[in-house]
């Protein structure tokens, strides 16, 4: 059975959105399989509409298919209706490209963009027809890999995966392909088992093989109320020679060498982020202390401006899109952002025929979105430059309600910065602003919560100078401390505490006209907390939740926190221990043997600086704080300018040019509560 299509075709009329399962995207390739070709099934453990736009997966899909020794197809989590039909008929997980059964591939590689997908990973391994535990899989079973941001603490998935890949995937997929091909060749001629392959993979830089490490725990005890307190980790050690004591991430030195995806997939059905995406730089050194993405992707590597311009022009022409997102963790920080935008707009205008209506959408309509962390008038100016006509929504992310707390989290925006940005935005024609905040941050008090409402009210007041009906939506999410960040030592707020703070904020906001509050479910933050900093023992918890039917945990209608709590207790663990407790200074973290290049002392000192309410500048434009990444990996920032982008003198707003560079978000590309897949539908 090389394809399940004939069977699948009979089932598809019975499921919702059958277009999720047909592939056929523009840009999709027909991978060759056969001897001498390592076949990869790249899997996204959420529904197609969420997974298809994922750029990481698309980049690897192209790179692997360009290689003579590899072929790649894609798969996504089947929605529950199709899963039921598949299980009823014994139909296995399949690729959407050629509908080949998952077990026919050599590698099943998951992209983990969040922690809550863990049960979907297990479910997809099971649907592939493989034993869910790596230890039970036969020698020739596909290798199960995970990569992506959430793979930086892969320990909760350790029982299920053969290996985790840390860092940029562009180069390492080739090394893994070579290791597998070599093992397959040896296997054809002699007796080598799966462990030989695992050892070979452990020798590839950036690849972590959990089964080759022993984890030791302190004995369990009980608290004063008689509840079990699991022992912490006391040792993490490789089991064999040749297995690295610490696994370092992979880092691509120059993004200009990797102009991918060249053929962004153009799906047949509507997906989230349905637009052209061009990554303009990778890494971020703003140093927001809560932000795992910023910490684990250092250093900053900018794409050459000419390459950005070419990728945008080519991509728009090829796909027929009318929207492009210039992606990065903070696009307004790109050195040449001004000229790059001018170039893109010039290229579009050049395609307009003489005499055509330049305002007509058919002629030149392209909108550009710029996810950005800065909050300042300069950034609003950029947003103004790239939007014409509709100015629907503009989002800023001050993240905390008071200047004090913003220093704690190192998001150095003053209230006046925010007011200036908001004023500029309303004056430029925006009428609705969204402000993102985190709650449950270290040292947070009720005053900090109340200040969120006050800040929003001040923004409304500023906006009403321009528009009678200016409004501001406050969107709050519960803070979940993440591995490899200065806040990894912080005890997450309890579910009840997060809920209390949400209620406090809602009451405070009621007093203010034009301020609306939206919030992320504290139960989801708690479940995410169990997985984010959990150790290997959480694997059994994941398995219990999965067996109880807990899949699609990022979808609010599927999340049931009680399942997680029950499973944690059934395994003799505690939510207190996994989520709520502050970690000790000398804590052995489940990821202590995994490195994003950040040295322990940098993270600890930054945590202490946070508690001392002391901010840190961006090392791209100031001096080095010895976080360890550049020096440790002998790489460097790739930035075109030694100063942050900002208004030139003649463009300077009255009142001076000394606006501090400030964090904010334009457009809405960051994943935040109300942008969660829930909004995609599926009902």
């Amino acid at each position: 059975m090389e394809t399940v299509w004939p069977e699948l075709e009979r089932i598809l009329p019975r499921v919702r959105k059958p277009g999720r399962y047909i592939g056929g995207e523009d840009g999709a390739v027909v991978a060759a399989h056969g001897p001498g070709v390592v076949s990869w099934l790249l899997a996204y453990p959420d529904v197609y509409e969420v997974g298809l736009p994922n750029q990481g997966l698309q980049i690897l899909y192209e790179i692997l298919n360009e290689r003579a020794d590899a072929g790649a197809e894609r798969t996504y989590a089947p929605w529950t209706d199709l899963e039921s039909e598949m299980r009823a008929r014994g139909l296995p997980l399949f690729s959407v490209d050629s509908h080949r059964p998952a077990a026919h591939f050599d590698v099943l590689a998951f992209n983990l963009s969040s922690e809550l997908v863990a049960t979907n990973v297990v479910n997809m391994i099971d649907l592939a027809g493989l034993p869910i535990h790596a230890a039970d899989r036969s020698a020739d079973a596909p290798l199960v890999l995970v990569g992506g941001h959430a793979a930086f603490n892969p320990e909760p998935l350790a029982d299920f995966i053969d290996a985790a890949v840390l860092g940029d995937g562009e180069e390492v997929v080739g090394d893994i392909t070579a290791a597998i091909a070599d093992w397959q060749a040896r296997r054809r001629t002699g007796h080598v088992d799966r462990s030989a392959l695992l050892h070979a993979l452990a020798g590839v830089e950036g690849v972590y093989v959990p089964s080759l490490y022993d984890v030791g725990y302190a004995p369990a005890s009980h608290d004063t109320d008689g509840r079990p307190v699991p022992g912490g980790i006391v040792s993490l050690a490789p089991r064999a020679d040749g297995v690295p004591i610490v696994v370092d991430k992979r880092t691509v030195a120059d993004l200009g060498d990797w102009p991918y995806p060249k053929q962004q997939l153009q799906p047949l059905i509507e997906v989230v982020h349905d637009r052209l995406n061009v990554e303009v730089f990778r890494g971020c050194t703003r140093g927001c202390r809560f932000c795992q993405a910023g910490m684990i992707t250092r250093p900053v590597r900018e794409r050459p401006p000419e390459q950005i311009r070419t990728m945008v022009a080519e991509g728009l022409r090829r796909t027929g899109h009318d929207e492009v997102s210039l992606t990065s963790l903070s696009t307004a920080d790109l050195s040449d952002i001004g000229p790059v935008l001018d170039g893109i707009l010039d290229d579009r205008m050049a395609t307009v025929p003489d005499g055509a209506d330049r305002e007509a959408p058919a002629d030149c309509g392209v909108s550009i979105s710029l996810p950005s962390l800065r909050v300042d008038a300069f950034t609003v100016g950029l947003a103004e430059q790239v939007t014409s006509g509709r100015r629907n929504g503009l989002t800023f992310a001050p993240e905390a309600g008071t200047w004090r707390l913003r220093q704690v989290i190192n998001k150095l925006i003053t209230d006046d910065d925010l007011a200036a940005a908001v004023d500029a935005a309303f004056a430029a024609g925006w009428r609705r602003l969204k402000l993102y905040f985190l709650i449950g941050l270290p040292s947070e008090t009720d005053d900090d919560i109340a200040a969120i409402a006050d800040l929003a009210a001040r923004c409304v007041e500023v906006g009403r100078r321009s528009h009678d009906r200016a409004s501001v939506t406050v969107s709050v999410g519960g803070f979940v401390p993440k591995a490899h960040t200065p806040f990894q030592w912080f005890g997450q707020n309890t579910e009840a505490e997060l809920q209390r703070k949400v209620d406090l904020l809602r009451r405070a906001a009621k007093a203010h006209r034009g301020v609306q509050v939206k919030w992320h479910d504290p139960a989801a933050s708690t479940a995410e907390g169990i997985l984010s900093r959990g150790d290997r023992r959480v694997g059994a918890v994941i398995e219990r939740v999965w067996r109880a039917g807990g899949v699609f945990q990022e979808w609010s209608e599927h999340l049931d926190l009680q399942r997680w709590v029950d499973a944690v207790e059934a395994e003799g663990l505690s939510v207190e221990h996994l989520v709520y407790r502050h970690r000790r200074a000398n804590e052995v973290f489940p990821w202590t043997h995994l490195s994003a290049g950040l040295i322990h002392d940098f993270l600890w000192d930054d945590w202490q600086a946070a508690l001392a309410e002391s901010g840190l500048d961006d090392c791209r434009w100031t001096h080095c704080y010895d976080c360890g990444v550049c020096t440790g990996y002998d790489i460097d920032h790739v930035v075109a300018s030694a100063t942050p982008p900002g208004p030139s003198d003649e463009d300077a707003p009255p009142g001076g040019t000394d606006l501090p560079a400030v964090p904010v978000e334009i457009g809405a590309s960051r994943r935040h509560p109300e942008q969660h897949p829930v909004a995609v539908g599926g009902r």
């Binding site: 299509w5 592939g23 056929g24 509507e270 022409r317 027929g320 007509a360 058919a362």
Partner: protein, 247 residues
């Protein structure tokens, strides 16, 4: 120049037939933008390309007689006429979608929805034998009425669908399916499309007692319009394209 629309007849077969009608219209919009067809846009705050589709095709059904009218903002002189532009668009469409005919129509004339008076469906994969199907078809055609209970927006109505049924024919297994003893006969149904439309699944239930139409393969083969010389297809079927584009 009075407003002109480009009318395209196209086919939808294979995997792409699982795409819903809303996504299908997005595919069309993007394809036309990609090849640079001068599509007129609607006025207003959020201008939309002016495409109009006829009677919606059920998701999962195939068709060799779908239509779209594309309102144009300028003439197609530089495109080598309608045949030329039809070929360019055809090349840009995803697998499973193909342009079969192209013509210019007066955009102020009747819409596709208004023009179409009847639709021909082919259905296969019935569980019944061709004798059973023929008997059911014959009894329907001789009946004065055929009542069908259907639901819309939560309310149930009982309608007489007999007037909508123009003809039903049953074919024995055809072509390559002959080798397969399990292959099913083919039902060809002509259905009037005025008033509340009769869906193929509803017809299969009312006439042949098929409870689960998801088991059937459904294919739209023609959409008809009434003219002074009797009915004809909106645009001629594919085997006549060449002679058409030559004139």
């Amino acid at each position: 120049m009075s407003a002109v629309a480009l009318r395209l007849r196209y086919e939808i077969v294979g995997k792409v037939r699982f795409v819903g009608s809303r996504d299908l219209s997005r595919i069309w919009e993007r394809t036309l933008r990609r090849v640079g067809v001068p599509v007129a846009y609607s006025q207003g705050f959020t201008p939309r390309p002016r495409l109009s589709f006829g009677l919606a095709l059920p998701t999962c059904a195939a068709s060799s007689a779908e239509y779209v009218d594309v309102r144009l903002s300028e003439s197609l002189d530089s495109w080598g006429g309608t045949a030329g532009i039809g070929t360019v668009i055809d090349d840009a469409l995803p697998d499973g979608l193909a342009v079969h005919a192209a013509a210019l129509v007066d955009a102020s004339g009747p819409s596709l929805q208004e023009s179409v008076t009847a639709v021909t469906w082919e259905m296969t994969d019935f569980e019944q034998s061709s004798e059973q199907l023929s008997a059911a078809a014959a009894s329907t055609l001789t009946a004065d009425e055929l009542l069908l209970e259907r639901e819309r927006k939560g309310s149930t109505t009982v309608d007489d669908i007999r007037p909508a049924i123009i003809d039903i024919a049953v074919d024995a297994p055809v072509d390559d399916a002959v080798d397969d003893p399990a292959s099913s006969p083919r039902v060809i149904a002509d259905v009037a499309s005025v008033g509340r439309s009769l869906r193929p699944a509803e017809l299969a239930r009312a006439v042949f007692g098929v409870d689960d139409a998801a088991n059937l393969r459904i294919h739209r083969v023609a959409q008809w319009t009434d003219g002074v010389h009797g009915r004809s297809e909106l645009l001629p079927p594919p085997d006549r394209i060449r002679s058409l584009s030559a004139c």
